[in-house]
């Protein structure tokens, strides 16, 4: 039986908002990876931020703060490959 693994992509209206969150998360030490947006997740912007399941809640809390960073939600996508661990 194969284990189903999910990735969490924070989606954005544009690169700028993605970079703003990336800088913010980096500042406070939450790991995230800039990634191309999976087609099934969004057509807003080609970049998204990949966060691990453990950190999704923390990221949501940060976004709930009034810091002006705009997102288009967080997409939960089933991983199709086990070639590499995308979340680092």
């Amino acid at each position: 039986m194969t284990i189903e693994i999910y990735d969490y992509y924070v989606l954005f209206p544009n690169h700028q908002e993605g970079l703003r969150l990336h800088r913010k998360l980096k500042d406070i030490g939450i790991k995230c990876t800039i990634s191309p947006t999976p087609r099934e997740a969004s057509s807003f912007c080609g970049m998204s931020l990949l966060v691990s399941e453990d950190n999704v809640r923390k990221v949501e809390e940060i976004l709930a703060e009034n810091n002006g960073i705009k997102t288009e939600g967080i997409a939960k996508i089933k991983r199709r490959t086990t070639l590499w661990n995308k979340t680092c």
Partner: protein, 383 residues
């Protein structure tokens, strides 16, 4: 090479800080990618350059929402976008008689389309008397447009008072900071500025081809240009969010990197130190000019009330001849003529003859000013 004294900084500052040259070179040499297109690490580095400059400008102008800073190729494009994107036929707009053609010409086009335009006459030294704005107020007044300082006389306008009047009466306050940003304080909150337009290549020490505008949250305008933004690519409709809505096509990323470095230079050097240096040189310049036979000086003649810009004429010479003689015989660069501001020249009484304009920057030295004064003395004596 012949030594050149560059006194045309109101047209564009030169030289630029060393860091500006370096940052632009570094972008072109080592980053080079197109921001917002795809998501390769290079692309993101380029997008990061835009964001960093936006953050630097937001801090500099005291505004909170960095996304609402839009980059344009220059302030003229910024002014056209906001004037034509906000005003509708039947609206009334008040502006001053010191405005540059970057404001007067789009307003003229809008006037032909049915927008009412009132020019408030400034005093002979170019100052706006704020209560005059109220005198011309109408029920349909939707906007006041004012330059921070005159490009002809350097006259600093009362932004704070004008902004307060607009806030009280419910009109949008649009500021043209082409002259002034980097020389005098521009504070979006304190001066009640709803829309701030800026150029990158003058007092902010960035390269030519940079500029933009800021619009306060809640205020919406139409676009002037639409196209690819790297976002919402599956749709043919223009994104409705900032800054993408107004930033179609590839931006001048190396230039914007340079603009960021220019503003950083101001912050590192100290805004006050720059102003102090320019004021000191202006005092020497104004004092010296007053003692030379035949010199007429326009504007406030007071370094506290003007940016480092002086307009003058020398009796017996056309302004163009004076600029030519300064260039040919002394290697001094000035600008003569009407400075794209016929309204301002009409206000100060020089529409028919123009002026010779001398403008300084932080890189102008005391020696430059003394050489200039000596040149004017020599020309005056020879007449």
């Amino acid at each position: 090479m012949k030594k050149i004294i560059y006194l045309d900084n109101a047209a564009t500052t030169w030289p630029k800080p060393e860091s500006v040259y370096q940052v632009i070179d570094n972008f072109n040499r080592n980053i080079g990618a197109n921001p917002g297109r795809g998501s390769s690490s290079k692309t993101l580095e380029a997008a990061g350059v835009l964001l960093t400059t936006r953050e630097t400008l937001a801090k500099f102008f005291n505004l909170s929402d960095v996304s609402r800073i839009v980059f344009t190729k220059n302030i003229t494009e910024a002014l056209n976008t906001v004037l034509k994107g906000y005003l509708n036929p039947g609206d009334h707009v008040i502006t001053s008689s010191m405005e540059h053609n970057a404001v007067a010409r789009p307003l003229n086009t809008l006037k032909n389309a049915g927008v009412e335009v009132t020019y408030v006459t400034c005093t002979a030294d170019g100052s706006l008397y704020p209560p005059d704005l109220e005198r011309y107020w109408k029920k349909n007044t939707r906007m006041v447009v004012l330059l921070a300082a005159s490009n002809v006389t350097g006259t600093i306008q009362p932004l704070q008072e004008a902004g307060r009047i607009c806030r009280e009466r419910g009109a949008v306050f649009l500021v043209d900071s082409a002259q002034g940003a980097g020389n005098i304080p521009i504070d979006v909150i304190e001066q009640n500025i709803d829309i701030l337009t800026f150029t990158g290549h003058k007092g902010l020490y960035g390269p030519q081809g940079t500029g933009g505008f800021y619009i306060r949250p809640g205020l919406e305008i139409r676009t002037l240009v639409e196209g690819g933004t790297g976002s919402l690519s599956a749709e043919t409709r223009q994104p409705d969010f900032f800054p993408d809505k107004f930033e179609s096509g590839t931006p001048n990323t190396p230039g914007i990197a340079g603009l960021g470095a220019g503003v950083n230079f101001i912050q590192k050097t100290g805004f006050k130190a720059i102003r102090q240096h320019e004021k000191k040189l202006m005092d020497i310049l104004l004092d010296g000019l007053q003692d030379i036979q035949g010199v007429a000086i326009y504007g406030p003649r007071d370094s506290h009330r003007q940016t480092p810009v002086v307009s003058l004429n020398l009796a017996g010479l056309e302004c163009g001849e004076l600029s030519f003689l300064l260039d040919e015989n002394f290697g001094i660069m000035t600008r003569s003529g009407l400075h794209c501001a016929p309204l301002a020249h009409q206000t100060i009484g020089t529409l028919s003859r123009g002026t010779c304009r001398v403008s300084l920057s932080y890189f102008t030295t005391r020696e430059d000013i003394e050489t200039f004064l000596e040149a004017i003395r020599k020309i005056s004596r020879a007449l």
